[in-house]
Each structure stands twice: as structure tokens, then as C-alpha cells.
């Protein structure tokens, strides 16, 4: 994987010409090339790369700014995490009740409009939704800012903006943009799971014992449909993380997505490589986490695992 990425990125384009000023002489360009280690043969560069990454966790310095690539990324990761987490939370909190509602009485007019809405939700392109939101709320109504991140508070190495009202104002539009599509997906999953679980015996038995409808739906049904919902939500979180690229561009949100795009355009390879490696690790960890949560939620899997 790393070899593929490395080979692909390092063979294309010439970062030196991007970095050096147009009047630089050949000698000056050669100096830059040497300092970046680009004059060495490719396989040599790759070995140096592997050594630095896996032994020292050093992804090299950004061609652009000279700072360590990994530092740049870790610096901006909390911003993206903030965005992604808020969006998924919003999607789940709104999507699950709507999905259950749509599953209870599928022929209902309300249920059908929810389903139609969900088709709209996941078909509209992400950036278009963002654009529309900016147009309505920022340009026409002037209620919310059109971009950028609100004021941040520092918690150790992490800087978050969720805890202030100003921070929220900047957060709402990008979070809604992402949440729209994910909410639509969760509505569909919740509805399908509800329709599957509702006719089962244990729901009828719960009603036969005189339990309130709120309890039947909110405890008995919910615990059973949470399993597929959490699984999908977990997997989608990874997608959200990656797709943050788009939202961050639209809203000028200083996260790693924007960093990636800028690095790709300026051919700042170390940053791109570092981003990709980190994403691979992150996604793998996420999948692992989803598996673990799944075994916690579904007691039937537990006993098989333990036996």
C-alpha cells in the first residue's frame, strides 16, 4: 500500500518547479532538490521514507512550509473530528426517531413523505447542499457566517470550538450539510429494521404483558434495531471523515480535508502521503471499533465469541 502510494506520488510532477521562484537559476534549483532529497534514485528515496515513517514516525517535512507533515495533520485533525462527530450525532438523533416513525405505519402520508425526503437527502450532492445553505442563511438572511471556524478552546493538545455559542454558529451549517445525507441513510436503515422487528413475537409478548407503547418501542424495539444502525453509522463515520474534504472546502473549515486538497494542488507530497497513511490507520481502527461495539450490543454474538 505504502509502496503504491509512494511510487505514484513521487513519480509525477516536479515539486521543485512549484517551490522555486521562476527566476531561480539551475544551480539554485539543484540545491533545493538536494535539500529535499529528490536527487536520490527513487528506490533510495523509498527506503529513506520507510525508515523515517516506521522507525521514527517522521513523515518528512512539508515541501511548502517546511514543518513536519505529521504535525500539520495532527494539528488540524480535531477540527475535522469535531465536524464529523457532530454531524453523525445529528444524523442519528434525528434519523432514528424518523425512521422508526416511518416503519410503524408505512402507508401513512407522513411516513411516505419522510421516505421521499430521504431520497432527496442522499441524492443531492454534498457541496450543493452546502452552497444552498450558505446562500439562504448567510447571503440572504445574514443569520449565520458563511465559513471559517468559530473561536476555539484548548484542552491539552486539542482545540475544540463546540463549547461557545460563536463556535456553534459556525458549526451549524457545515454540520447540517453533512448530516442531511447521513440522516437520510439512517432513516432508511431504521425503517427497514423497524419493519423487520415489529411483527416478531417478543414485541407482541411485550404488548401482551401490558407494557406501555413507549416502552415497547423505546426499549424492546430500539435495542434490537440499534445493532444494524450502529454498524452502519460507524462505517459511515469513516466516509464522513473522508468526505469532509468537500465540506471543508465549501465552508473554509480548517480541517485536514482542506489541507489535503491544498497539498494535492501544490504537489506537497509528504503531506499527502502522511494523510493517506493516517486515513488508512484511522479507518482500520474504526472498523475494529465497530466490530467491538457490535459484540457489546448483541448479546447473542457475545456468547459465541466467549464459548
Amino acid at each position: 500500500m505504502s509502496a503504491l502510494v509512494f511510487a505514484a506520488l513521487y513519480m509525477i510532477g516536479d515539486p521543485v518547479s512549484m517551490l522555486a521562484s521562476p527566476e531561480a537559476t539551475d544551480a539554485e534549483r539543484e540545491l533545493i532538490r538536494q535539500s529535499l532529497g529528490l536527487d536520490l534514485p527513487l528506490w533510495h528515496q523509498y527506503l529513506i521514507f520507510l525508515n523515517k515513517v516506521f522507525v521514527h514516525l517522521d513523515f518528512g517535512n512539508s515541501f511548502l512550509t517546511g514543518e513536519p507533515a505529521i504535525g500539520l495533520i495532527l494539528d488540524r485533525m480535531p477540527a475535522t473530528l469535531e465536524l464529523a462527530t457532530s454531524a453523525m450525532l445529528m444524523a442519528v438523533l434525528i434519523g432514528v426517531p424518523l425512521g422508526i416513525y416511518a416503519g410503524l405505519k408505512p402507508e401513512n402520508l407522513g411516513a411516505r413523505s419522510v421516505m421521499t425526503g430521504s431520497v432527496l437527502g442522499f441524492s443531492l450532492p454534498n457541496f450543493w447542499v452546502g452552497l444552498m445553505l450558505i446562500m439562504v442563511f448567510a447571503v440572504f438572511l445574514h443569520w449565520l457566517p458563511a465559513g471559517g471556524r468559530g473561536p476555539v478552546e484548548t484542552f491539552g493538545p486539542i482545540r475544540l470550538s463546540v463549547f461557545s455559542w460563536e463556535g456553534w454558529r459556525s458549526l451549524i451549517l457545515p454540520v447540517t450539510t453533512i448530516a442531511v445525507a447521513k440522516c437520510a441513510l439512517i432513516i432508511r436503515v431504521a425503517r427497514a429494521a423497524t419493519r423487520e422487528c415489529l411483527p416478531l413475537d417478543y414485541i407482541k409478548f411485550a404488548r401482551a404483558r401490558g407494557l406501555s407503547e413507549a416502552r415497547v418501542l423505546g426499549v424492546h424495539l430500539l435495542k434490537n434495531i440499534l445493532i444494524p444502525i450502529v454498524t452502519i453509522a460507524g462505517l459511515e463515520y469513516g466516509q464522513v471523515f473522508a468526505f469532509a474534504v468537500v465540506t471543508e472546502t465549501v465552508f473554509s473549515w480548517p480541517g485536514i480535508g482542506k489541507l489535503l486538497i491544498d497539498s494535492i494542488i501544490t504537489l506537497d507530497r509528504p503531506v499527502v502521503v502522511a494523510y493517506l497513511m493516517l486515513t488508512v490507520v484511522f479507518l482500520s481502527l474504526l472498523n475494529l471499533l465497530v466490530d467491538i461495539v457490535y459484540t457489546i450490543l448483541d448479546p447473542r454474538v457475545q456468547s459465541k465469541a466467549g464459548a
Binding site: L9, P125, M135, V139, V189, A242, V245, I261, I264
Partner: protein, 307 residues
């Protein structure tokens, strides 16, 4: 993507092709939204095909542009010719309406070509993997799984950063992202078919594997593949638009709808909203129309599959 059942292979269906089409058409009409989507889609197709004749202006013929006409609001009349800028003009005095028509062409071409190519490649891989099974099948599916575990946008971004700009490069990137979906669906469908009696009968007759695959198994796998193709078309168009919006997609000389929106983004703040708004509406309508059709197709062809 979830496992698809093959509802059409049940014995309850009429054997004749004409009556099957009639049955299909009858079922399709049951959703008014899907019919609406289909009508919209056909309308857009016509607009795109006949663009050179419908468009009041060829926006890429620089000679015809009058720089004094730039950034005119919708409905204004040109100062030099008798043309009305129905949807306004952009920063380079291009008629937005014409630009949309030409942009529609690019978007639809990219979408159709990439989906067709992905369909062919993915289906072949999936069918071969299902039919032969064993190590080849497992290896192929392993590749598919790895591909699918990566967020589509990242794969596309990396590929495009390596390949550079250009309509053909975008198509390649899109194909690379989509083929895996087809592969997995084709394999799923083919495995179900493989175990059916008519395949075993064909094997007994020592038909060549190519013949069995192509003439016997493949036709029965078409329904779920058609559903995926339709929905994938919408995804492809949306993804291309996203990539172009980010600046890594089609070049400025052959702008798709996404590129048009990107161009108009900067003008949104200053009030010339129409430059991004109308292409955005066009894009949204196309994508939603395709999704409505695809969603209903899925309901017809796979009644057990709700998600």
C-alpha cells in the same frame, strides 16, 4: 451495498419478453415520483443532446462574448446583440443558460461512459469470480473488498492527483471507484444462479464456461445490476461534480456543471448568486431524477430489500 435477491427468476413470471416488459412498465407506473423522475431525465437528455441547437449562445466561442455583458442578472438583455440572458451571465460574460446546456452534456457524458465501463469491467470480474470460485474468486473479491473499504472520494482524489486534469482522466478515476460495486453485486447474483438447476444442466451438456456465463447466468443477473447502474449513474455525476468543484476534475475548457458551480462560488458573496445557483439547480434536478427512478426500480425488482 447489500446482497441483492433475484426476484425476477421466480417461476411466476411470464416467459415472453414482450409481456415481461409490459408487466415491468405496469409496475413502474405505480410510483408517480419515479415517472416524474423519468420524464425529467428524458427532458435533460434531450436538452443535452440538442444543446448546440437550443442554446442561444456557444459560451466557449470567445469571439462571440461581449465583456460588457458580464455579471448581468437573469432576464437582462445583451447590450450588443438581441440576445436575452435568461439566467444571467457570468464573470466572463457567458450566458448561464447556454453554459448549463453545454455543461449538462459533459456531466452526462462523463456519467454514462464511466458507469458503462464500470458495469462491463465490474460485471466481468464478479461473474468470473463467482463462477470459478476457489482461489481466483477469493483473490478477486479480496481486491474488491479492499477497494470498497476506501472512501470513494479519496481514491478519486489520489488518482486524479497522479493523472492530472482532463475529461478522460476523470472518467478513468470514476471507473476505478465504481467497478467494485458492480463486481460485488454481479458476484452475489451469479452465486445464487450458479447453484440453480439450469446451470448444472448446462454444465452436463459440456457447454463452454464462456457460453454458460454469458448466455445463461448473466441475463438473470441483470435486474440487480440495472438498479445499481441507475443509482451509480447519479453517484458518478455527483462525484464528478464534486471533484470539478474542488478543482481537480474536468479542465476549465470543458466545464461540467460542477465546474460551473465552482466558478460561480466566488461570486456568491458579492450578490451575483445566479452564476452558481442555476447550474446547481440543474445538477440537483438531474441527480434527484435519476435517484427517484433508481429507487423505484429497486423496489420493483427487489421487493425484499428495503435499504
Amino acid at each position: 451495498m447489500t446482497q441483492m435477491d433475484i426476484a425476477l427468476a421466480s417461476p411466476a413470471l411470464p416467459a415472453k419478453r414482450e409481456s415481461m416488459l409490459r408487466l415491468f412498465a405496469q409496475q413502474f407506473i405505480t410510483s408517480k415520483l419515479a415517472v416524474l423522475g423519468l420524464i425529467l431525465l428524458v427532458l435533460f437528455l434531450c436538452l443535452a443532446i440538442f444543446a448546440p441547437w437550443i442554446a442561444p449562445q456557444n459560451p466557449f466561442d470567445i469571439g462571440k462574448l461581449n465583456i460588457m455583458d458580464s455579471k448581468l442578472p437573469p432576464g437582462s438583455v445583451s447590450s450588443s446583440s438581441a440576445m436575452t440572458y435568461w439566467l444571467g451571465s457570468d464573470g466572463q460574460a457567458r450566458d448561464v443558460f447556454s453554459a448549463i446546456l453545454y455543461g449538462l452534456r459533459i456531466s452526462l457524458i462523463v456519467g454514462f461512459v464511466s458507469v458503462s465501463a464500470a458495469f462491463v469491467i465490474g460485471t466481468m470480474v464478479g461473474l468470473i469470480s463467482a463462477y470459478f470460485g476457489g482461489r481466483i474468486g477469493a483473490l478477486l473479491m479480496r481486491i474488491v473488498d479492499i477497494q470498497l473499504s476506501f472512501p470513494a472520494i479519496l481514491v478519486a482524489l489520489v488518482l486524479l492527483s497522479v493523472l492530472g486534469k482532463g475529461v478522460d482522466k476523470v472518467i478513468i478515476a470514476l471507473v476505478a471507484v465504481q467497478w467494485a460495486y458492480f463486481a460485488r453485486a454481479a458476484r452475489g447474483a451469479a452465486i445464487v444462479e450458479r447453484n440453480k438447476e439450469y446451470v448444472q444442466a448446462a454444465r452436463c451438456m459440456s457447454l463452454s464456461w464462456q457460453r454458460i456465463l454469458w448466455r445463461h447466468i448473466f441475463p438473470n443477473c441483470i435486474p440487480p445490476l440495472m438498479v445499481i447502474a441507475t443509482i451509480d449513474l447519479a453517484h458518478a455525476i455527483a462525484l464528478e461534480a464534486t471533484l470539478s468543484f474542488l478543482g481537480v476534475g474536468v479542465p476549465v475548457t470543458e466545464p461540467s456543471l460542477g465546474m460551473l458551480i465552482s466558478n460561480g462560488f466566488e461570486f456568491m458573496m458579492s450578490g451575483a448568486y445566479w452564476i452558481a445557483f442555476f447550474p446547481g439547480i440543474a445538477l440537483a434536478l438531474v441527480v434527484v431524477a435519476i435517484n427517484l427512478v433508481g429507487d423505484h426500480l429497486r423496489d420493483i425488482l427487489n421487493p425484499r430489500n428495503e435499504i
